[in-house]
Amino acid sequence: MTNQTIAPAELVKKSPVLKSFNTFFLSEVLNIKVYDKDDIFIGYIDDIAIDASENIRHPYVSAFIVRRGTNIRAFEYSDFIDYRYDYFELSPDASGLSVKLSQEGEYESDIEILLKRDVLDKQIVDTSGLRLVRVNDIKLTFVKNGIVTIGADIGPTGLMRRLGLGRMYKAAAALFNKKISDQIISWQFVEPIGASHKNKIKLVVPYAKLSVLHPADIADIIEELSVQESAEILKSLDEETAAETLSEIEEQELQISLIESLGTEKAADILDMMPPDEAADILGDLSEKQAEEILSDMNSQGAEEVRELMSHDEDTAGGLMTTEYISFPETFNAEQALAEFRLIAPNIEMAYYLYIEEKGGYLKGVVTLKDLVVARPYQKLTEIMNRKVAYCLLNERREDVAEKIARYNLLAIPVVDNNDVLKGIITFDDVMDTIIEINEELPHFLKGGE
């Protein structure tokens, strides 16, 4: 190999900066050329090391292994000033990391895992030894101060990419109107077994045990997996966890396709466990026929509430509200109310406001949980309640609801029909997005992510 020098200036026009692409695949950067600040060729990217010693879900890339012939060097993230699709450039003060070589002259490290050597093309087995899949590629992403591993690509797109047919495959799929997505197993679930035993990679959690994790965690993973796999995971969870997981998923499209692939019966069981407003939201996006099928499989009372909610426009108070709230008849005293509260509150999401209903369901006033607890047992609810209740009507627009909640500093607002009959409540978090949008004065950190 001679001392190749290519002026990167000529390449700049052609090759996009990799950093501006959030994610990339291992196969896309392997064998990329590395130049130093004087445009002298240093070598090719041979492998990527990640630090496995720290127990984090998505470990950081600790080094890029650069090889030129038998000469092996390692550079960390900050040593590069430019990541591009056809070359990486080192910064002027890049010193490189100290490299330990094995007897055969290969890079060696006790605490690091090499993605190409130890993970790429290996088999993944779940803890029960079943499900044979292979790591076709590895997905990584640039974050603020480094690069982290997202997960292992086990799908056909990865395979095609490795064969250099990735684009063709996607084009062909588009031609047949078939949507294909990468099948990624989140890194937190794959555990490369130590360096001595590098034949197989274990899926740390068997599908059956995924439920031990918090639903929000499971939702995070599911968002990165294929719909099929996610559906499989959801099926393996108990209904309550599955319901929570489903409502933690942020992409609505994904929620819907999951429900579709679960099958009517399972979907109905899971939706039964969800707060009615969320169930209504999801069902509202399905076709009428599908929604009706699922509704008829749900338990009758729940289905009734969901139907009621679905009849309202999604962007009005009626569409936003949930029918799960706590209300007491005006005849109750504090002691009776507390006893009743203990019975029903565990299943209610929003249990701070307790509404007082007149006969016929008319909204009369509100008591906070604090009011109730500090009241003397024999005091009538009507004595301690607040009569000036902020409320909204069924057809009120989302923005107006949000504004009211924000103005009065409420955690939830009751919804009544034209006859003042209490129909449901809307909680703060159901309209939070809208609140943030309309309230320009909110501190910066509340305005959501970048």
Binding site: E104, L120, D121, K122, Q123, I124, R131, L132, V133, R134, V135, N136, I154, L159, R162, L163, G164, N199
Partner: protein, 431 residues
């Protein structure tokens, strides 16, 4: 003394329990393509090509042993090792070639099934006048061939294949008929031994074609995948390797003993009587010394049996190898939806193999021979992969090839490559 005897006895027992991926594979190796190729060689060249069996046997022991050692050293399948060493592109190239070669071989197995049914039909036509009608005969042959395809598909999918395998293994006794036929035909044994020990090479494309055919039908890539999977299933480990390596040696020698007697039988009958083999039917006459007028029936039975076993093994081994390499669900015990690729490959091969044979006017014998030659041309490429993996210290540990073994492999690869290039260069003219 007694203790020593006891130990010997124990070793024999262990050996028997591990019999024998090598022996089973060796048996399956004598499939329709094998019978056709060996018979033609005997019929066309007499005993002249017998000598090739010596280097071929050595090569077979060598490659199967390499595959055995890989399994023992890593506990991984051959597909695993190829994928991990040669990555996606390298694995894709090899597996595509293996797939094509195996598809050809599967077709040749169905040619064997079709041919043997046809021979039986012609035979029975003397007793059943209905069969004298050509249309009826053809229709029945078609029907039976298709039912055999369905039968093969079913036994594999239903998982009863392993059981069936054992039944088939017994029927390998059929090959004994060649041994008897060879003896009854009373060949000039001095000529036989001269052909066996003195190499004769002719620089004719037909000769090279048949030479590559003999090599290709004996040392096939698919049998390595098959044996490798079988041995992993049996749980052979480094501890028992010292015994089970003999399994490979015995299996390989058995294969070529059958090949030897097939060639001798055909040489002593067909070659001597100057019968030019034009179709499968002609080969049956080589068994006249042992079966007389029943010779063609006996031949049909043997061919049928060998073809049927291999027609199940080949698609199975291919689907297994491809799915293992690319990380697709494998499983006979799984539902179609869970192992789509596995079932698709398997089913595709059986349907294609069967359908090609049913095209009217298909030259069955030529299909059998060409598919073996295709395997022979593929062999040096396969050897290249095999040697690279077996020489990799990181993978193989104490089982790594030493420098002699490596050089033997490379020399064989070069010789085989030269033969293949010569064949292609001379064109396929003059077959």
């Amino acid at each position: 003394m007694l203790a020593k005897l006891k130990q010997k006895w124990k070793q024999v027992l262990i050996f028997l329990s591990l019999v024998g991926p090598g022996i089973i594979t060796g048996n399956v190796d004598n499939d329709s393509g094998g019978i056709a190729t060996y018979s033609i060689v005997g019929a066309h060249y007499g005993y002249e090509m017998l000598w090739t069996l010596i280097p071929v046997t050595v090569l077979l022991i060598y490659t199967l042993n390499a595959s055995y050692r890989m399994g023992v050293a890593t506990g991984q399948g051959l597909g695993d090792l190829i994928r991990e060493k040669f990555r996606v592109k390298g694995a894709f190239i090899l597996l595509s070639l293996v797939f094509l070669a195996n598809l050809g071989t599967t077709t040749s197995e169905f040619a064997g099934i079709y041919g043997s049914i046809q021979i039986a039909g012609i035979n029975f036509s003397q007793d059943f006048s209905l069969l004298k009608n050509k249309a009826v005969l053809t229709f029945l042959t078609y029907l039976l061939t298709i039912s055999m395809a369905i039968f093969v598909w079913t036994i594999v999918v239903k998982g009863t294949y392993k059981m069936v395998e054992r039944v088939f293994m017994f029927s390998c006794l059929f090959y004994l008929s060649y041994v008897f036929s060879a003896f009854y035909a009373k060949p000039e044994w001095s000529e036989v031994w001269r052909g066996f020990f003195v190499p004769t090479i002719r620089y004719q494309s037909a000769y090279i074609f048949d030479l590559i055919g003999v090599i290709g039908t004996t040392v096939t890539p698919w049998m390595h995948f098959y044996m490798h999977a079988t041995m992993l299933e049996k749980g052979i480990t480094a501890k028992t390797y010292y015994i089970s390596k003999w399994d490979v040696v015995i299996g390989s020698i058995m294969t070529d003993v059958v090949a030897f007697f097939t060639i001798v039988a055909c040489g002593a009958t067909l070659f001597k009587q100057n019968i030019r083999v034009e179709s499968i039917y002609d080969i049956g006459q080589s068994l006249i010394p042992v079966a007389g007028s029943y010779s063609s029936l006996l031949f049909a039975a043997g061919l049928f049996n060998a073809s049927l076993l291999a027609s199940a093994v080949l698609p199975l081994a291919t689907a297994y190898a491809i799915c293992e390499t690319f990380g697709w669900e494998i499983g006979i015990e799984k539902e179609f939806n869970e192992a789509k690729m596995f079932y698709s490959i398997f089913t595709f091969m059986i349907i294609t193999g069967c359908a090609l044979v049913l095209i009217p006017g298909m030259p069955l014998l030529l299909i059998m021979r060409i598919s073996q030659v295709a395997n022979g041309i593929l062999l040096p490429i396969f050897l290249f992969y095999l040697i690279i993996i077996a020489s990799d210290k990181k993978t193989m540990g104490e089982f790594t090839f030493n420098s002699y073994e490596k050089s033997f492999g490379w020399v064989s690869t070069i010789v085989l490559s030269i033969l293949s290039i010569m064949l292609v260069y001379q064109g396929l003219a003059g077959i």
